[in-house]
Symmetry: C2
Subunit: 198 residues, 2 copies
């Protein structure tokens, strides 16, 4: 049986650069698997069940919540979005380290639903840079940008509830930091049973 | 003020290769400082106080124990050997990561005397390899080798009390593992206060 993989929850405020850092991490390290979310919204053209999302009916999604099968979930625009526990467990038991890129509120929920999850907070380098990145995203009104910025600034204060804080001032270094975190976590006694000699 | 450094306690059974791994680590990473032990034995020619050892009188050593100024200590051949707390704290406050290479019993004492120490166990790759290394050391009698081997095998069972277990099957990889542990430990919220943006 392979060694059980980790569950890495990578989170942080909107504009912190979670996606970019993870993209770099995936080029550095093997054995990682991106968690697939579940949703009740309808598939868009080209989206594949089990790859883009698990597409569930609202009744089934509610049943999965009731049965404790969602590591976290939230409602958004009249639909549910969440992380099903089953596929995460399956991949971990196969030896993969499962990576869950997720908003701050979801990460805090995983803290409670999965005791051995490793929580990593991606910290933007400065408020100015955060603002720049939020503006770059599109043509949102100033009001929307300001509201998002306030939310992101508030979310920075949740960082101390995470296991690790990674500063994203330089994408490759930030990815290297996460690479080290994974290596180190695998060296904890609970995670390396087969290292013992006889 | 610089960020406070870590205290890394690197331990493991005799023959695990602690010294060799640390030598490799010191070539990979800056900002490390090797802790200097205190002893009551007399200096040998060429040994310098504060570099080879802190040479203390027995009275002074006993007073330091009484005052709680020893992170750990032990008696050996009618002399005391130990780790003075003061210089370790001083170097950590200057931002150095202090490395303490120490026997298993001493490491367990540091667990209690220094709450934020990071304990790393160096695991030999196999009993056969351990035996080979213990034999290589010199011309000890078979009886001595066997006794040491039994002690080392018993000490392997303390590994789960450490924060991390590093398998020394390949020196460079083992040193890389410790390098990652240090990087990861510095990303814990308590160790990276200056990472927070405002």
């Amino acid at each position: 049986m392979p060694e059980r993989g980790l569950l890495l929850v990578v989170s942080g405020p909107s504009g912190a650069g979670k996606g970019t850092v993870l993209k770099s991490l995936f080029t550095k390290r093997e054995g990682l698997f991106s968690s697939v979310s579940a949703t009740t919204r309808l598939p868009r053209p080209g989206e594949v069940h089990g790859e883009s999302y698990y597409f569930l009916s609202k009744d089934l999604f509610r049943q999965e919540i009731k049965d404790g099968n969602m590591l976290e979930y939230a409602g958004y625009c009249d639909n549910y979005y969440g992380t099903p526990r089953g596929p995460v467990e399956e991949k971990r038991n196969q030896g993969y380290d499962v990576v869950l890129e997720i908003e701050v509120q979801g990460a805090m929920k995983v803290r409670h639903s999965c005791e051995d999850a490793t929580l990593i907070f991606i910290m933007p380098p400065s408020v100015a840079e955060l603002e720049k990145r939020l503006r770059k995203r599109g043509t949102e009104k100033e009001e929307v940008v300001q509201r998002r910025l306030e939310t992101s600034k508030a979310e920075v204060h949740t960082a101390s509830a995470y296991d690790y804080i990674v500063l994203n001032d330089e994408v490759n270094r930030a990815a290297h930091d996460i690479d080290c975190i994974i290596t180190a976590e695998k060296l904890k006694p609970g995670n390396c049973p087969k290292i013992f000699i006889e």
